[in-house]
Amino acid sequence: MSEKKLDLGTWVNDGVQYLLDNYSNGFESIGGVVSSFSEGIEAILMLPPIWLLIAIFVGLGLWRIGVKFAAFTAVSFTLIFLTGFWEQTVVTLGLTFSATLISLLLGIPLGIWAAKSERVATTIRPILDFMQTMPAFVYLIPAAMLFGLGRVPGIIATVIFAMPPAVRLTSLGIRQVNKEIVEAGQSFGCSKIQLLLKVQLPNAMPSIMAGVNQTIMMALSMVIIASMVGAGGLGNDVLASIQRLDIGLGFESGMAVVLLAIILDRITESFGTKQAEKRNALFSWVSAKLQRQ
């Protein structure tokens, strides 16, 4: 590295050190909440027997997408189970879900706010850009410093990395709701909160679900990287395979990640695009039945 004329890095170091010195209690309590939250989610995933968890995913695939995809899900999970990565996969799943839920819990309200206020939108846009484009590894350093090693810094770093699409697509979805539909809501006497709950959010759903899908995918990729700070799960095996140059291990663990990603992606995607269609199929089937009687 050549000689530095401007030492931004030192300022950031000082900043993090300052936070650590003065607010370590605050970070500890945040860490505590995140930790118990994710442990809870993991416990729920561990609760049912393996076959039941697999059956749930297969059932979801069957309901949302179709027989072929359900079969693919069954084969994938069996493969993961047979190669001995089941436990790590469930841990990764738990981390992904925890990080996603926290991202959505923060991101969707923020997206709503950004849709309502131009000032909020212009303020958070560069922040979101920064969060998304900063190399993901970099978040691990302050996260580990502030929260120690383990699953908590992993989840926190993942939340930061995975939240932007939820914010962006919620805001975009609400802004894109047909102007006349919003006017219809107003002209029938919606209050502000009714307008949001009965008109804007339902009509923004496809876009919001696309955001949820992206958040899950980004969270999954980040929790693998987060194994560097000891978050655990499949990432550990990937990391170990790199350290030991074990191609076999790398392939097996990598494949588990890919299969998990495909399954999560397809299932969550189906909630955005096929929502209306699916429900209609059910309704017209029911109404046809009723009419026949």
Binding site: Q186, G189, F283, S284, V286, Q291
Partner: protein
């Protein structure tokens, strides 16, 4: 209390930073373009005043950009007025608090949109019940009411479907049902049928007129289709550049357009269709008076030959239509140089048509009747005649 269901007074809408300044300049007679150049403010609606009577369909017409859509949104305050007042049943909408406005919208006014503006994730029934849901009516009650209005618009069997499964015309029926469900005394319809094909559009216009017969509501209807306006409108208001150019019944606008802009609207329509017997008639048939004594056949025959006419009308001493006779018929009567009196037994009885009979009915009568037909005024007095030749000349535009 103001007269009229909806009274609009000196209403302004300015899009820009300094609305009051722009209104002042506009009042001093500055043009829209000059105001825009000087202050950067766009005047959307400028000094509009009119009044809509209870139960009428008031059609607002104008080219795109003439401010008609803005104007109706000022009436239910989807857009905030920059100046002026809007009274609905005497209450000033422009000065209402938010909560008063919301309760007025829930209770007494609804809107139908050009793009239908239905919620895609809701069923037809839930869409129709939307206004009631917002107003906090229980599910059972609102679904019952929504089902009633769906029946009125002929969609009760589609209640459980989703909007995208319906055709455009059917979707707008849902839009109409949604607006009717809250049982408002007034409705605002923004180019409600413009997105439909001509056949469907006509069908919807008929439906609207039919619904008006059952329950008369005050309707402000925006349209750019003059045929539609003339078909459904009790009165038509024409807008140009944010200003109201002329307000009147379809007949008044056809007869006396205020300027070329208004006249241009009617260029594309066959205004003849709106002609009435009173406008078609002329003094084209010689009149003979039966004042107790019937006119002499020979005299009438000579007179007709002099005037080169084929028919004569006979009226009584009170100027009431008595009968018609053709030259040929008289020729037969006076054959051999013998004259006779043209009394009841010899003349042809025709039922006269009233002055306000529309063109299509007049044509019907002319087709079934051999000669010209007499026209009578409101007091039953003979006022003129319409012959086939006369009709053609008039329709050609004289």
């Amino acid at each position: 209390m103001k007269a009229g269901k909806i009274v609009v007074e000196n209403l302004y809408k300015v899009f820009g930073d300094k609305p009051q300044e722009a209104i002042e300049q506009s009042k001093q007679g500055w043009s829209k373009d000059k105001v825009l150049a000087e202050t950067g403010a766009v005047i959307g609606v400028s000094d509009v005043s009119f009044s809509v009577e209870e139960g009428e369909i008031f059609v607002l017409m104008g080219l795109s950009g003439s401010g008609k859509s803005t104007l109706i949104r000022l009436i239910n305050r989807l857009i905030e007025p920059s100046g002026g007042d809007v009274f609905i049943d005497g209450h000033n909408v422009a000065k209402m608090s938010k909560s008063e406005l919301i309760s007025l919208r829930r209770r007494d006014m609804s809107m139908v949109f050009q793009s239908f503006a239905l919620m895609p994730s809701r069923t037809v029934l839930d869409n129709a019940a939307f206004g009631l849901e917002v107003a906090g009516i229980s599910r059972k009650e609102r679904e019952k009411r929504a089902m009633e209005v769906l029946k009125e618009v002929g969609l009760e069997t589609f209640a459980q479907m989703h909007p995208h499964e319906l055709s455009g015309g059917m979707q707008q029926r849902v839009g109409l049902a949604r607006a009717l469900a809250v049982n408002p005394s007034m409705m605002i319809m923004d180019e409600a049928f413009s997105a439909l094909d001509p056949l469907k559009r006509r069908e919807m216009q008929d439906l609207l007129l039919e619904l008006q017969k059952i329950h008369r509501r005050t309707i402000i209807f925006v349209s750019h289709d003059i045929e539609e306006a003339m078909r459904i409108g009790s009165r038509i208001a024409i807008m140009e550049g944010g200003k109201l150019v002329q307000v009147g019944t379809p007949q008044e606008l056809v007869d006396n357009p205020a300027n070329d802009y208004v006249r241009n609207f009617f260029d594309t329509v066959d205004t003849n269709r709106y002609l009435t017997a009173g406008q078609l008639m002329a003094n084209c048939v010689p009149i003979f008076v039966h004042n107790g004594v019937a006119p002499d056949a020979l005299m009438v025959s000579q007179k007709l030959q002099e005037l080169d006419k084929h028919y004569a009308f006979i009226v009584d001493e009170h100027n009431r239509f008595y009968g018609s006779i053709s030259l040929e018929k008289i020729a037969l009567l006076v054959e051999g140089g013998q004259s006779c009196k043209l009394d009841q037994s010899r003349v042809k009885q025709i039922t006269p048509v009233p002055e306000d009979m529309p063109l299509d009915k007049v044509i019907e009568r002319l087709v079934t009747n051999e000669g010209p037909i007499p026209v009578v005024g409101g007091n039953g007095q003979y006022s003129g005649a319409i012959s086939k030749g006369r009709l053609l000349t008039r329709m050609q535009g004289e």
